[in-house]
Symmetry: C2
Subunit: 128 residues, 2 copies
Amino acid sequence: VRVTEQATTADAVVDSYFQMWNETDGDRRLAAITRAWTPGGSYVDPMHVASGVGELDAMAAGLQQHYPGHRFRLTDPVEAHHDRARWGWEFVAPDGTTVISGVDFAQLDQAGRLREVVGFFAQPGGAA
Amino acid sequence: VRVTEQATTADAVVDSYFQMWNETDGDRRLAAITRAWTPGGSYVDPMHVASGVGELDAMAAGLQQHYPGHRFRLTDPVEAHHDRARWGWEFVAPDGTTVISGVDFAQLDQAGRLREVVGFFAQPGGAA
């Protein structure tokens, strides 16, 4: 039961996390960020660093402006153990082509929300 | 140059990390742990938790006892950005078959040594 609850929570949190990246309505994007992240939660990947709701929101909004109509989607199921989780993702153009893929690794708070997400990009020819 | 130095350090540290798992000589295994990890560094995966040289050494030695002749090896190149790194691995039986594969995520100290490693196992049918 414990494992199932943990997995369910992680799935819901990661669903809200993808809404942060994909939601273009400002109010709904902020609501998704609040559901997904612990207050003061932070994100880092090779190109971005963001900490707290305001920076997370600006990061997602900025990416949406640069890549209109693009969406992030999950490529393999969320795996969680202890207070950690990982999942694979891809960033898809409006015509369906994958622009970039990668993997995210998260540390969770006691409520299962994101304390930190670290993103890695897939290497050409390598696994994500 | 900065990126190259970082990659080189991470590669050397991860090489020592694999020596921790594979080296059956106690003194050489301890030396590998000291090279790879920051003092008090910790490891967690779905089956193990270890913190500090003694627990890391006992974890590696225990696995070697349960799986004689098996070895961990890198399956895709170490990726590093900021103070983070990730790499893929597989655990191979003496006859060459892969017993399990997965991915490790690491947080590094200022010298590039492992502060924490979080391991995830590949899901059947999914990506590592």
